[in-house]
């Protein structure tokens, strides 16, 4: 039982990061109805930028802010350079193009920063907290990760439900023609979706880096988990992405604890397959608007 609680506790912060990456995938899905497989590549790239800044200045907050800005810019660049021209002809082509972007980003990062895994120093202590005479597998850094994630999720929820921008973005995703008739600048909303997704992904990358080390391909596995969480959550639901992101984190942690961490991706894919067989619209999807 002690083991179980320990494994569970250990899964929360990685679950939070999976949730952030899943949110990024959902935001892109909502705006352009496609999955951006380059999302983790963008996060990897901005995390390298953050790493450079932290190595130069030692300032984690500055690194975070610059990484978010870079994530936003990168999101917009990917949208304009790759997605928009391809999307106009064929959306399957656009999805494949995102794989191209992923590979290009990984190659670019390898050329700039080298291929060796590098450590990322956490801003606060990452060793287990000692409470009640026992060391728990839960650190100050895990708390920071959860707080940042919660703040971001609340912020995004308010943005989508309480602001005109959020309203316009939801409308654009659902029916661009009618949104245009209502005076919404739909293209701008699509770009905004990609930009916010890039920023959220950047936060996810910088939060996971101290736990996982960073290399051009070290986030690839995150894509598997985030994609699973996003799809099971219904692809267009923030609540779904968060719920199943954290859920996936917990499951991975339990599996890694009781068996071996290399089994985790297999289990994630089995869950994905079961979801597609049993509830292909996802658990939190509205009105079955998904077409895979």
């Amino acid at each position: 039982m002690t083991n179980f609680i320990d494994y569970l506790l250990g899964g929360f912060s990685s679950g939070a990061v999976i949730a952030l990456m899943a949110i990024a995938l959902v935001l892109v899905w909502r705006s352009t109805r496609m999955v951006n497989f380059a999302q983790v590549g963008q996060a990897m790239f901005t995390t390298y930028i953050a790493l450079t800044i932290q190595q130069q200045t030692g300032n984690w907050l500055l690194a975070l802010v610059v990484a978010i800005a870079a994530g936003v810019v990168l999101g917009v660049i990917v949208f304009f350079l790759v997605i928009r021209p391809v999307k106009n002809s064929d959306s399957t082509g656009a999805i494949i193009a995102t794989f191209g972007v992923l590979i290009a980003l990984q190659a670019g990062a390898g050329m700039i920063w080298g291929g060796d895994p590098e450590g990322f120093v956490p801003p606060v202590d990452n060793s287990g907290l000692e409470i009640g005479g026992r060391i728990w597998p839960f650190s100050l850094y895990d708390i920071l990760v959860l707080v940042v994630t919660a703040a971001l999720v609340i912020g995004l929820t308010l943005l989508f439900t309480k602001t005109a921008l959020g309203l316009s973005m939801r409308a654009s995703a659902f029916n661009p023609e009618v949104a245009r008739l209502s005076g919404v600048r739909v293209n701008r909303m699509l770009i905004t979706g990609w930009a916010i997704a890039g920023g959220v992904g950047a936060v996810g990358g910088i939060l996971i880096a101290p736990v996982s080390t960073i290399s051009p391909t070290s986030f690839d596995i995150l894509l598997v988990f985030a994609f699973t969480a996003a799809v099971i959550g219904g692809l267009d639901s923030l609540v779904g992405a968060v719920t199943f992101g954290i859920g996936t984190g917990l499951i991975i942690s339990l599996i890694s604890g009781y068996s071996d961490s290399s089994n985790a991706p297999v289990v994630a894919l089995i869950l994905l397959a079961l979801n597609l067989l049993l509830k292909p619209d996802g658990v939190f999807s509205h009105h079955g608007s998904r077409s895979v």
């Binding site: 912020g155 308010l158 943005l159 309480k162 602001t163 005109a164 921008l165 959020g166 309203l167 316009s168 939801r170 409308a171 659902f174 029916n175 023609e177 009618v178 949104a179 245009r180 008739l181 209502s182 005076g183 919404v184 600048r185 739909v186 905004t192 916010i196 509205h286 009105h287 608007s289």
Partner: protein, 262 residues
Amino acid sequence: MKYVLPLTHPLLSTENVSITLSGLKILDDVSIGVPQGTVTGLIGPNGAGKTTVFNIMSGFLTPDEGNVRFDGKKLKHIKTHHLTKMGISRTLQGVGLFESLTALENVMLGGSARVKSGIVADSLGMPWADSEQNKLRSQAMETLAEFGIADIADRYPGELPYPVQKRVAIARSLISDPKVLLLDEPAGGISASDMAELGRMIKSWTPKRTVLLVEHHMELVMEVCDLIWVLDAGKVIASGSPEEVRTNPAVLAAYLGEEVSH
């Protein structure tokens, strides 16, 4: 009222508009005008090109020849998202509501183009963005109340009866305070009593607002329109008062096989 054709200063008009889609000439040299402050009807058998006229006026399609003129200005490339700012509002066939937004949010969206706050202020939750949003929200509530449906503000369109959805759609098109309303079959699928009320409502908007109405229900068209244009196979075949159009042999011929209800 009697209109001498061609109209001298219509508020909204098409000038010699032609368009070919997929090799078919959908509109052929169509010139119609909507005088300020009137309800003008656009009728014709199925496939006559009525909705295409709307699609050109709302920027979904660009004509091969000719142009749209609004308020004296020639519009060459119409940007759809500019329409509400210009003062043109369009409803769609069916209802065209956002299923994942509440009735209130649907109506708010119609007025969102006038909200000034930008992306940055919105994302950071700036107080002024908030107050603009609240203003829009209360305005949308008022509009729903005018239509007698304030109680369903937080319901989703899928949960509402069809006639109520139609009212929400019209409320959305009115909240931007348009000069011109383009109504695409507003009476489709509603009952006779609802239709009578719709007729009174459309009449009550004039002369402050101008209406261009595409409608299959002839009784509604004949009742509310000051001027009617008749399209058949992409060409204007007649125009005039409801009485003139009703008795026009060319119109009767075009509708042959389709019943004209009086």
